[in-house]
């Protein structure tokens, strides 16, 4: 089969996905800024902010799909990496407040003044510089995932045991960030942000740029993931998912591959968190709650795991439903979310992407089974 290298890298669905994300990333900010509010084409501010949030969730779901859908690692800790990236960004934004806080202290964030701290803790230094903070957005979740993964994969902790210890890790971080003396604002977290790189975080233009950046990050994350899974390395990763012991016996250092995917995926989750924080304006320890991580897993499962674009789609669809139901029928939302977990695992193991695939198969003769759509059940 001869095809252009680009097409084999992305596949038709991936291409469509990239185009949609790119168009949305450019069109929504323009429609928000350029169209007068009365115009039917105008995108209201709140819609753009909400959609920006969904894009961050989509990137998180994508990162979960990379480790779970392709490598079979069910991480219940990606919400924690998301939050770590968010805290790194939050620390930069806190430092930008300067003397405009309630207590007007030029060096210390308000909560530290409140706690009678005299000087900035050492780990807060450097966060006043944007490039350093951005580096930390990648490094903190990355290094954390690397160390955690190094211990876990080397000891061959697999399957549900791994899921449970990632959940325990998330829970430990949740408890840790709730403590005031950790120096991350305790219960209240970091909030009251003023500006980012000199632009007000509240301003419409800043929000438009953040939306654009979120779309670009999602597209970038998708491309990186595609490059990984389409390479020879990606084949080995899928092999690990399907038959870990056999891959090991063939001479591959399974733990190295797992560690690589896990770390890359954690960094992607961190970027998603960093983009999320300026758009919602707050980061607090509840982002670490184990429920959030599991919810991210169900986004990926609902969209269709092992497809990447499906995971992103799942995140957007589930969160649209969440926004709708928590407003219209707050009592019903947990029933629906719970039911979704059950229905997806019982009846939709391939998710929405699997449904599309079914529809397409009915129309086209079922002969070419490109690797992209061959979703074996993990384990």
């Amino acid at each position: 089969m001869i095809s252009a290298p680009r097409a084999s890298l992305l596949g038709p669905a991936g291409l469509v996905f990239l185009v949609i994300v790119a168009v949305a990333g450019i069109a929504v900010p323009i429609l928000n800024l350029a169209m007068p509010p009365a115009s039917p084409l105008h995108v209201p501010d709140y819609v753009m902010t909400l959609a920006g949030k969904y894009l961050c969730y989509a990137l998180l779901a994508l990162s979960v799909d990379l480790v779970w859908g392709y490598c079979g690692i069910l991480s219940l800790g990606h919400g924690a990496f998301f939050a770590l990236g968010g805290y790194a960004m939050g620390m930069y934004l806190m430092r930008q407040i300067g003397s405009r806080g309630v207590y007007g202290n030029p060096d210390l964030p308000d909560f530290m003044v409140f706690l009678n701290w005299q000087e900035l803790p050492w780990y807060w230094h450097g966060f006043e510089y944007f490039p350093f903070a951005m580096l930390m957005v990648l490094l903190v979740p990355g290094v954390f995932a690397f160390i955690f993964g190094w211990f876990a994969f080397r000891a061959r902790v697999t399957g549900v045991y791994l899921s449970i210890i990632t959940q325990a890790m998330t829970f430990a971080l949740l408890l840790a960030f709730f403590r005031n003396d950790m120096g991350f604002g305790g219960n209240n977290g970091l909030t009251d942000f003023k500006d980012i790189l000199g632009f007000s975080v509240q301003a419409q233009e800043t929000r438009a740029v953040l939306f654009f950046l979120s779309a670009m990050a999602l597209a970038g994350g998708f491309l990186i993931s595609r490059i990984i899974v389409a390479s020879k390395l990606g084949r080995i990763i899928v092999a690990i998912r399907d038959a870990e012991s056999r891959t090991r016996f063939l001479g591959y250092r399974v733990e190295h591959y797992k560690l690589f995917v896990f770390t890359v995926s954690a960094m992607m989750a961190g970027v998603a968190g960093a983009l999320y924080v300026p758009q919602v304006g707050i980061i607090n320890p509840s982002e670490f709650s184990p429920g959030n991580s599991i919810e991210a897993v169900i986004w990926a499962a609902f969209g269709g795991r092992g497809t990447l674009w499906g995971a992103a789609l799942g995140a957007v669809v589930v969160n649209l439903a969440k926004s709708f139901f928590t407003g219209a029928l707050p009592e019903a939302w947990l029933f629906i979310l719970g039911g979704l977990f059950i229905v997806v695992t019982l009846f939709l193991p391939k998710g929405l992407a699997g449904l599309f695939r079914l529809v397409r198969l009915r129309r086209v003769k079922p002969q070419d089974d490109s690797e992209n759509f061959k979703i074996a059940v993990a384990e």
Partner: protein
């Protein structure tokens, strides 16, 4: 202070003539009605100095505002309202003294300062009170203050005391008072020795205060006694921590044991396990509501009735979940994890919709409340004790059931080798359903126990699920002894870390420690061995 003056005088008082006193007493009581608050306080002190227990009801009535004076003749009565008239009784004798119209008598006013004085006087009388509890309290007060002026009173009380533990307390109180009195050095040394046998902080600080002013060799003896008491206290502190640890461990054991059964036998991660615990707690609430409305007099039995009810409710829900969802997911552990998480969300919301989001009030029966006091300030609360015993009983029962019943045999067979068990004619799907029911039922029992010590809210289960998983993972799935060791280890370690690291940091340390432990032994302390293990 009136209290001490009273005790000092008590000994001398016995000599007074009885009949002369009776008249005096009446005059003293009548004096209460005269003058301002200051004079009234003096009158109370005089009454107290008589040492006659008959003044107790008078003072109590005065404090409660039931003491009245008849301005016509200046006599004082205890008066209680009955209909439109006041019934009068003679204050000292308690005999009836007719009735009076409201306008004929005036209330004797008291203020808070007077009430305090009265309370002190009454506590002095309490040394000779017929109620042992009151006597004990009075002696404890005397021991704490160690005032030498009460010595004669204490010695007199000791001579009359027939309750053993109060007598011991009295001896200690006498020793404490001796230290501050002008007794000989020899007596004081003896007193220090008596006190050094006590293990409580008050005595230690009493001795330390004494040591700071005393001279050698008393100083050295007192310091040695303080050191001895502190050593004993440290030991008791450790025992206290061990007890708290066992108590926490037994709660963890109850929550985790059902999980160990389902995880061990079926390899199923049941994220809804915490909600089974919650259902058990709500069943307790419902049972108690029925008892409150139908049989309020048998409320003490409600917990006993709640046990089988919770077992059945949670067990049936468990079987329902297994038959409707989990059986389609065998061999796909990660999917099971997600589906059961979904079930837990649904159960939480269902309970929230039915019972409301706020905490429900679950009562504690009388036989489970209160506490047992041990020496050294160690108090064992009854409900904790009952839960520890209950956890031990449940654990033993499960162990025996798995070991000796035919169902247990089938369970073990399926755990060890499912295809072979099938080949031997065991219907493993039945075993699965019943095992899941059993695990959930035990969670329901845990819920009954937890309803006694935790808030019964829809989030009850969430608080225990991660801890229970850690216990099972730490102890090793498929082995109940592992669960026991895991629960107690985590419980006791947690309680020992708490004083140094604080509750939250202690918990974080435990979590990190377990995560690291898993690296060394990925399948827990008591891992199953064999080729069927590697899923």
């Amino acid at each position: 202070m009136a209290f001490f003056r009273l005790l000092a005088v008590l000994a001398a008082l016995c000599l007074s003539a009885v009949s002369a006193m009776a008249q005096n007493m009446d005059a003293l009581v009548d004096a209460l009605a005269k003058g301002n608050f200051k004079e009234r306080e003096a009158a109370i002190a005089k009454l107290a100095d008589t040492g006659d227990p008959a003044v107790v009801p008078v003072l109590e009535a005065l404090s409660a505002g039931d003491l009245y004076v008849r301005p016509a003749d200046g006599r004082v009565f205890i008066a209680r309202k009955q209909g439109s008239v006041m019934i009068l009784t003679a204050p000292l004798t308690g005999e009836s003294a007719g009735e009076a119209q409201k306008g004929e008598i005036d209330k004797i006013k008291v203020n808070n300062a007077l009430r305090r004085t009265i309370a002190q006087v009454l506590s002095g009388f309490a040394l000779f009170n017929s109620d042992p509890t009151r006597r004990r309290e009075a002696v404890q007060l005397a021991l704490k203050t160690g005032d030498p002026s009460v010595l004669p009173g204490l010695e007199k009380a000791l001579a009359k005391e027939n309750v053993a533990d109060i007598a011991v307390l009295l001896k200690d109180a006498i020793a404490a008072a001796t230290l501050k009195s002008d007794s000989s050095e020899e007596e004081k040394l003896k007193a220090i020795e008596t006190l050094s046998a006590r293990t409580d902080r008050d005595t230690a600080s009493l001795l330390a205060a004494f040591a700071s002013t005393a001279e050698e060799p008393l100083k050295a003896a007192a310091l040695a006694a303080v050191a001895k008491i502190e050593r004993a206290l440290a030991t008791w502190d450790m025992l206290q921590n061990v007890w708290y640890g066992i108590s926490l461990g037994s709660v963890l054991l109850l929550a985790a044991i059902g999980l160990a059964v389902t995880f061990g036998v079926m390899g199923v991660i049941n994220m809804a396990h915490g909600e089974m615990v919650m259902l058990g707690a709500y069943t307790t609430y419902v049972v108690q509501q029925i008892f409150r409305t139908q049989f309020p007099e048998a409320f003490g039995l409600s917990i006993i009735v709640a046990l089988p009810a919770a077992f059945i409710v949670a067990g049936l829900v468990g079987i329902l979940i297994e038959r409707s969802v989990i059986r389609f997911l065998y061999g796909r552990a990660l999917e099971t994890l997600l589906a059961t998480w979904g079930i837990s969300l649904i159960l939480q919301q269902a309970v929230r919709t039915t019972f409301g989001a706020s905490n429900r009030e679950v009562g504690t029966p009388d036989w489970m409340s209160g506490s047992i006091e041990l020496t050294g300030g160690l108090a064992i609360t009854m409900n904790r004790l009952v839960i520890v015993i209950f956890a031990a009983l449940v654990f033993t029962a499960i162990l025996l059931a798995i070991r000796y019943t035919s169902f247990g045999l089938q369970m073990r067979a399926v755990t060890q080798n499912r295809p072979m068990a099938n080949a031997m004619g065991i219907r493993s799907s039945y075993v699965d359903a019943l095992t899941f029911g059993l695990g959930s039922g035990i969670a329901g029992l845990a819920g009954v126990a937890l309803s006694q010590i935790d808030n019964v809210s829809p989030n009850l289960g969430q608080g225990y699920i991660i801890d229970s998983f850690l216990v099972v993972v730490f102890g090793g799935a498929g082995n109940l002894w592992g669960t026991l060791v895991g629960a107690l280890t985590l419980g006791i370690t947690n309680k020992f870390l708490e004083p140094y690291a604080g509750a939250v940091l202690g918990k974080i340390i435990i979590l990190v420690a377990v995560i690291l432990f898993i690296q060394k032994r990925p399948r827990g302390l008591f891992a199953l061995k064999g080729r069927w293990v590697d899923a």
